[in-house]
Symmetry: C2
Subunit: 438 residues, 2 copies
């Protein structure tokens, strides 16, 4: 039986899960792969703390070079996280002729082009299934199963923290702060949750999805993003009345030669399958021009689900090694010489449906003034909800949903409306997806 | 640019879809694969009828040997369907050293062992993603993405015809006969629907899933199956009252060294994601010991969704060809020398929850008599619904659900109950899944 020697960098939660899984399912993996994984070294700055798996003392090291310079190690599993050290380790592993498996979406989204180019030059493979959607086989599905399809659209719930918070707000009527606190208490959110709730994490994942779906080099900062911290229980209630659930969606839509890419809280119809994705689950709703809808759902994080994806990549790469080849599927799904810079649609030119919640004075003429301004920007009203709920400063909420309108027009109209003295504060805007989300 | 020569056997709906897709996305496929598919010959008994795609007359043939003996053709796509001719063609293609892609679940479920052994001997690959779940990447997910997992369970909606019929019965209150008629009018059901509604088609698919999940040789007839033709609107209504939806589920559960495998109408909780799979969609809910729940959903049939899976397999095999190898993933997910005969749990020994609908006389003592017999077989009652709806012969429906009970006990109890003169006709039994279906 062949041995595949592996070096693991980063012995945190996921690293522990990988060791646990390789050990518990060792015999199963042998039956499927026909080879055995041998963890030759585990590098971490902390090799003293006891983990939930026991490993022999002599395979632990604080010196990553024990892995990077070991000629016997053919696969390096990078589970350090972050950009700086991880990038150095991964590039050194590649230049040492080692295949790399990583769960690091920040690294791939930010330095993917440099890393992939280096891997092409050195004829090694990079497995990054765990970087997007945890255990969900979204990367393999895009690169292999749907390879015959133009990807018409991807709608994804890609961040478990945000989805958990929105689920608690929706199901339990909690406000944002208290749902966030719950998520933190359960370990679903960090002490500093900015990265998740401001959609930075989701942007990393969408950047990777865009790159694979369209064969493009993506500049992370070009992707429009809004987080969930401004969503109130009022908006969730109004959404319910209108037949919608609010989710933080990452959206990619093919529009001829340009790509529409945006991340924001989104109202989606109750009966769409994405609306049934609750708690800390992730999901991807893809539409291919031949496949039609394909929906993938599972745990987007967590020790064992992420380890499942890491080990899946290790097996994938090992099957290539055992077949005597170094790689068979291009890293970005397209052949290297066909990768192009992405051409993103300007957010101003996006057209969708909108929900507005105004805080207005409770007197006649308000609706007329607001609808007049909307009309002057070609924004058609599809429904109005006016309620006698007194807010602070004698304001009442006025909710308006629109037919398809252009983002630029909407922004200009709201700027004008928010200057009216019959309107208090900044108007809440949430986009609605009905059409593209078949 | 490399050319990959392909021969297509069977120019029906799916064959037409494959040609259409290869033509429409030719440039896209080149960008991803770095090669071009050349359809060298298409064989069909009918080469006169016009199809929705135009092909040059000279590539059409009625003689399948024009494909099977052509040394330039490296991939044979078999879309004939059925067992007899398809088997001959596939085995001849294999013995001619050609890779095969097929959408034929009946063939793979029935003759898979013979075909896979021949392919191993001849060092060729067999792509059969399209045979289960149409466009859904269930085969690749089991063989590759989840390769590090013990598959704890698979719950699948694997037949679009049955799911369409049950959806119409549930949403529109139709009875079975009229929902079947709708399905036939829309082309979702055959004129003779037996194969679908009696769950033969689902059994083929479950046999393939079992084989891949557990590395087993499966005997098709060993799988317990019940179709949907006995489901009445009454049962659907009672299910709704109890918080369940009725779906035809194919179920595989790992129970130590044995496997539980069964297909029958099943009540599942409203809020389980499988309950939201409506119309002619298919879905698979897998639980891996590391991955936890993974849910895959999409079109299980149809021209272009099936063509998407066929072309995905063609690209997969071509990537191997271009890398100079003949195969890297074992056909049954496990290495050939680790494949074993399956050890299925006897249906009598299955334990689950049950729904019974008795037709009973409307007088005191009935519930006591029935519950007495159930009790004597160790069947605990979890709920009772008794309604004053008069049926024929003055019978009223009495609905009982149970705690977990053993199938053998249930069958013996019902046999005894059905002999009581206070009970009319044969009692309806529908199994409920609460526990295994997390």
């Amino acid at each position: 039986m062949e041995d595949i020697f592996v070096g693991l960098i980063g012995f945190g939660t996921i690293g522990t899960g990988v060791i646990k899984l390789l050990r518990e399912n060792e015999e199963l993996i042998r039956k499927r792969l026909g080879a055995r994984f041998v963890i030759k070294k585990i590098a971490d700055v902390d090799i003293e703390t006891t983990r939930p798996v026991t490993v022999e003392r002599e395979i632990l090291t604080t010196d990553v070079n024990d892995i990077l310079t070991d000629p016997e190690i053919s696969i390096v599993v990078e589970l350090v996280g972050g950009y700086t050290h991880a990038k150095t380790f991964v590039l050194e592993a590649i230049h040492g002729g080692k295949h790399v498996v990583t769960a690091n979406k920040a690294l791939i989204a930010t330095y993917g082009n440099e890393i992939f180019d280096a891997a092409d030059d050195e004829k090694v493979n990079i497995g990054f299934e765990a970087s997007v959607g945890g255990t969900i086989p979204i990367i393999k599905t895009l690169k292999e199963s749907l390879a015959g399809n133009n990807i018409e659209s991807v709608f994804g719930i890609m961040n478990g923290t945000c989805n958990y918070i929105l689920t608690r707000m929706t199901k339990d009527g909690k406000d944002f702060a208290s749902a966030l606190k719950d998520a933190q208490d359960l370990g679903f959110a960090e002490a500093d949750p900015t990265f998740d709730i401001e959609a930075v994490d989701t942007a990393h994942k969408l950047a990777i999805i865009l790159s694979l779906s369209y064969g493009k080099r993506v500049v992370l900062d070009d992707i429009y993003r809004e987080g969930i911290s401004e969503i109130s229980w009022q908006d969730i209630e109004f959404a319910g009345e209108l037949g919608y659930t609010i989710k933080l969606l990452a959206i990619a839509i093919r529009r001829g030669d340009t790509i529409e890419a945006r991340i924001h809280p989104t109202m989606i119809p109750f009966d769409h399958i994405l609306a049934s994705v609750n708690g800390n689950f992730n999901a991807f709703h893809l539409i291919g021009d031949a496949s039609d809808s394909v929906f993938l759902y599972g745990q987007g994080a967590g020790m064992m689900p992420t380890a499942s994806a890491v080990v899946g990549d290790m097996i994938d790469i090992s099957r290539d090694i055992m077949a005597g080849i170094w790689r068979r599927v291009p890293l970005r799904s397209y052949k290297k010489d066909r990768i192009e810079d992405i051409n993103l649609l300007e957010m101003d030119d996006v057209s969708t449906n909108y929900y507005f919640r105004f805080s207005a004075v409770d007197r006649p003429g308000v609706l007329s003034a607001i609808s007049g301004i909307l009309g002057s920007y070609n924004i058609g009203i599809s429904s109005v909800i006016q309620k006698e709920i007194k807010l602070d400063r004698d304001a009442v909420p006025l909710v308006i949903t629109t037919y398809k309108a252009r983002e630029k027009d909407v922004q200009m109209a709201l700027e004008e409306i928010d200057k009216l003295d019959i309107v208090f504060g900044k108007t809440t805007l949430i986009r609605i997806e009905d059409d593209a989300l078949r």
